[in-house]
């Protein structure tokens, strides 16, 4: 028989390292004579999209086109150490360092522009620098870059963002362990085949507080990837070890979900600004997968009344739990 159930999983998650562990992001922004921008940071994008976010932040701060930015990351010869890509910290910490470095060079360029245009209310947008009250008083960003170079002013800035927190009270464990927290709730709808133990996840709805979605599509992709990962964690992924040797070393033996296993995922972005993040943004990478397994396991309990307390909830494990429950019910009656 196939039975359906609905379950909820909720979580909060500390962004960055917390507990007094050093946590510093860094970025260098350099304006070239032709108005193009070189950005350097030790932060590596391993697929989550931080390079996109960085370029968006620089483009926003300098009012230049996204395509004008050349980003160099994770090169120990040329990039400042920004700490690892982990702890869902990259946008929150290094994104803010990007913003600070860009602001610093922009303010130097603003001084040059104020001298050239004789105006104080200058705005940087669309590759132009112009007076908000007298838009006809303007200069292109590229010409201003050249002028700043010729004036011998600094066109390079490196900025650091330090979110290292105090440790908690060693006696009570109380205190502000993390700089900020991400919050999320997910709801899963599952169908359990009681005869085989097979679970089909039919739908996941995921609501995530990301502070500010600098790139909403990217946030959705992070949520979808997290849910797929959480689904694999809940239902199938398991490292099999025999006498210290891993038995399933290939992806044909270590089962991750395929596109045929991942259901429709409905993402809802919630924006409660984090004070220290760029534009209020905080991390979403790990938070996206944390509530998924609890939501699925709660949905299984809702469908068939058994509590899965050891992962994965694969065919054999779930079928055994269902049979144990049937036997218990028989004993009682």
């Amino acid at each position: 028989m196939k039975k359906r159930g609905i379950g909820i999983g909720s979580m909060f998650y500390g962004i960055g390292y917390g507990f007094s562990r050093q946590d510093i992001g860094a970025a260098t922004v350099e304006i070239c004579e032709d108005g193009s921008v070189i950005v350097r940071s030790g932060e590596v994008d391993y697929g989550q999209g931080s390079d996109t976010i960085f370029c968006q932040i620089i483009a926003e701060e300098l009012g230049v086109d996204y395509a004008e930015i050349k980003l160099i990351t994770a090169d120990t010869l040329t990039t400042p150490n920004a700490g690892p890509t982990s702890a869902s910290r990259v946008t929150y910490v290094t994104g803010k360092a990007m913003m600070k470095a860009a602001t610093e060079v922009r303010e130097t360029m603003r001084e040059v522009a104020e001298e050239k245009l004789g105006m104080q209310d200058l705005m940087f947008a669309n590759g132009q620098v112009f007076s908000m009250s007298h838009p006809e008083k303007n200069i292109s960003f590229a010409r201003l870059a050249k002028a700043t170079h010729l004036a011998g002013r600094s066109v390079v800035a490196t900025a650091w963002q330090d979110i290292t927190t105090k440790d908690v009270d060693p006696e009570t464990g109380q205190g502000d362990a993390y700089s900020t927290y991400a919050w999320a709730s997910q709801i899963a709808v599952v169908e359990v085949d009681t005869e085989t133990g097979k679970i089909e996840v039919l739908r996941v709805v995921a609501a995530h507080d990301v502070g500010k979605a600098i790139n909403p599509k990217n946030v959705e992709a992070q949520i979808e990837g997290g849910v797929a990962t959480g689904l694999g964690y809940a239902l199938e992924e398991q490292i099999l070890i025999n006498k210290g040797i891993v038995q399933n070393t290939t992806l044909s033996e270590y089962m991750v979900p395929t596109s045929m296993d991942v259901p429709v995922i409905e993402s809802h972005i919630v924006e409660v600004p984090a004070l220290e993040g760029p534009y209020g943004a905080k991390g979403v990478g790990e938070p996206a997968l944390i509530p998924t397994a609890p939501a699925i396991l709660n949905a299984i309990a809702n469908a068939v009344g058994v509590r899965v307390t050891a992962l994965p909830a694969n065919l054999e494990n779930l079928h055994r739990l269902i049979r144990e429950q049937e036997n218990n019910n028989k004993d009682k009656s």
């Binding site: 085989t196 199938e236 089962m255 395929t258 596109s259 045929m260 296993d261 054999e316």
Partner: protein, 289 residues
């Protein structure tokens, strides 16, 4: 890295001559979905590799008078898309559709599924259930037909000679009113080996009596084999819950007696029973063709 001579003839005659001269030192490449991983893992070290994909006579589904011939290098995708197979053998179409994913189905062949003779094969049990015959050809003896069930020795082993090539699978067209069912249980919905599968074909008299039945479970026995003891329980009887339950009990009894109790039996025995009962009832409820 292995080195071997690679030969890719266009004509069957050339292929047969090639293996006749080389026998065990030669391996045959059809879809390669089993062979290539075996080569990469160095589980096999052939001196010669015969590619049969360019031999036209081995490809495609033919509607003959009272039988259907499926060429050995017909891919699972081609099986799924074949009008003839959809009309006469939906069991094989469903089984082919359950294999791996689109890329594997585009490469993997029915002949390869037979020759590899893996215990978790998806299509081979269906061929056994339909009493398929293998068309084998060799330079020495020409063409001979053998029942598929007769060549499956044990897992990954057949009695097909090393100078013989499997060129096609022949299946008698079903008698009017034949119905069939297939179910596969995998760890995920694609790219998964069968934990279990089940192929059933049967026919009922107008009054409901089961007049023909063929049952082949997969991934529980060393090789795909018809469950004669279960079939004889059902033959000549009208299906009732008591009868189907007794047949399910008999089925797992046969499986346990043949394959023994393994670590997986705790799961597979009750689940095979459940799957048998539900596929049986589904097929019984279906209108005949």
């Amino acid at each position: 890295m292995q080195s071997f001579q690679f030969y890719s003839p266009n004509y069957l005659e050339d292929a047969l001559k090639y293996i006749a001269d080389r026998k065990q030192t030669c391996r045959t490449l059809a879809g390669g979905t089993d062979l290539i991983p075996m080569l990469k893992k160095e589980e096999i070290r052939p001196d010669y590799l015969l590619n049969i994909n360019e031999v036209g006579e081995l490809k495609g589904v033919e509607d003959l008078d009272n039988q259907v011939r499926i060429g050995a290098t017909t891919t699972f995708t081609e099986m799924i898309e074949s009008e003839t197979l959809n009309r006469f053998f939906p069991l094989l179409v469903n089984a082919a559709a359950s294999v791996g994913g689109p890329q594997i189905r585009n490469r993997g062949t029915i002949g390869g599924n037979v020759i590899t003779n893996g215990p978790c094969a998806d299509v081979l049990p269906g061929i056994v259930a339909l009493d398929g015959q293998l068309e084998l050809q060799s330079k020495q003896d020409g063409r001979r037909l053998v029942s598929v069930a007769d060549v499956l020795v044990t897992a990954y082993e057949t009695s097909i000679r090393s100078d013989e090539l499997l060129t096609g699978i022949l299946i008698q067209k079903p008698v009017q009113g034949t119905k069939s069912g297939f179910e596969k249980l995998g760890r995920r919905n694609a790219m998964a080996k069968a934990r279990l599968n089940l192929s059933i074909a049967l026919r009922q008299d107008p009054n409901g009596t089961i007049s023909a039945v063929s049952i082949v479970p997969g991934a529980v026995m060393p090789v795909a084999v018809r469950m004669n003891d279960v079939e004889s329980m059902l033959l000549g009887r009208k299906p009732t819950p008591v009868l189907i339950q007794a047949a399910a009990d008999k089925l797992v009894e046969v499986v346990v007696n043949t394959a023994g109790i393994r670590w997986s039996s705790e799961y597979k025995v009750p689940v095979l029973k459940n799957i048998f009962k539900r596929v049986m009832w589904r097929v019984l409820a279906e209108d005949p063709q």
